[in-house]
Symmetry: C2
Subunit: 123 residues, 2 copies
Amino acid sequence: MAGSIKDILKNPVGIKVNGSLWIESDGQPFFGPGPVELLERIEATGSISMAAKEMKMSYKKAWELVSQLNAQMAAPVVIPQAGGEKGGGSTITPEAAKLIQYHRQLRERFAAFLEAESARLKK
Amino acid sequence: MAGSIKDILKNPVGIKVNGSLWIESDGQPFFGPGPVELLERIEATGSISMAAKEMKMSYKKAWELVSQLNAQMAAPVVIPQAGGEKGGGSTITPEAAKLIQYHRQLRERFAAFLEAESARLKK
DNA sequence: TACCGTTATATTTTCAAAGATATAACGATT
DNA sequence: AATCGTTATATCTTTGAAAATATAACGGTA
């Protein structure tokens, strides 16, 4: 279309609309893509430290995320155990599974939005 | 609704979905909310330095944004003049106006999306 | 009790982004 | 030529976030 955005760009080939989403509570973000993946990997590995390693995230960062998440939920999403067989580990609660599922669907709807906007950009 | 996300949060009052959008070219973001506001203020003030000061952005940062934008557009969005009456100044081109208008509409559609998602969150 | 790998926490180090500062070039006006 | 406020650019400093490091606590198992 004439007068389109892509027409005024020097290199319109790789152009698209991108973005990121998160859930805010009291104005401060507390649940973005990072925590979701962390929860998924904690579920898969049974361990915060292993999940963090897989994501190339420091254990400290991972622990802070878990701690922050648990603090903001009515019930904890991760149950940690320090010590025990194999040194301990962590399991996720049904509430965590709910969060994961919700965020997955949210991401899908957002991806559709971005797709539509990217298409509009090229028209 | 039962099993909703808001039910598993400790403080569900201020909860909402938020996010940010930008345009990518070749995978690297080059046009987000900051540059738009800068362009608007350059148009209003006729000067990069005044626009930057209004936004409490360093002149350096503002100049870098302008420079980067100009480099990525087929035609420049800002025409700077160093020296001249009143020391110089900068004007924006019709292409810049197009970018501003596009981004404004994009923001509106995104706001609607976020609003819908925030509403869904509370259901 | 000694060991293990994990959770929990404090401290230090690194590093990149932002900011501050300084200086030159510019071109109309006087 | 001197002045003015702007653009243009280099360099130094600050600072804040991430990463790295270190250490203790934990609770099963052998």
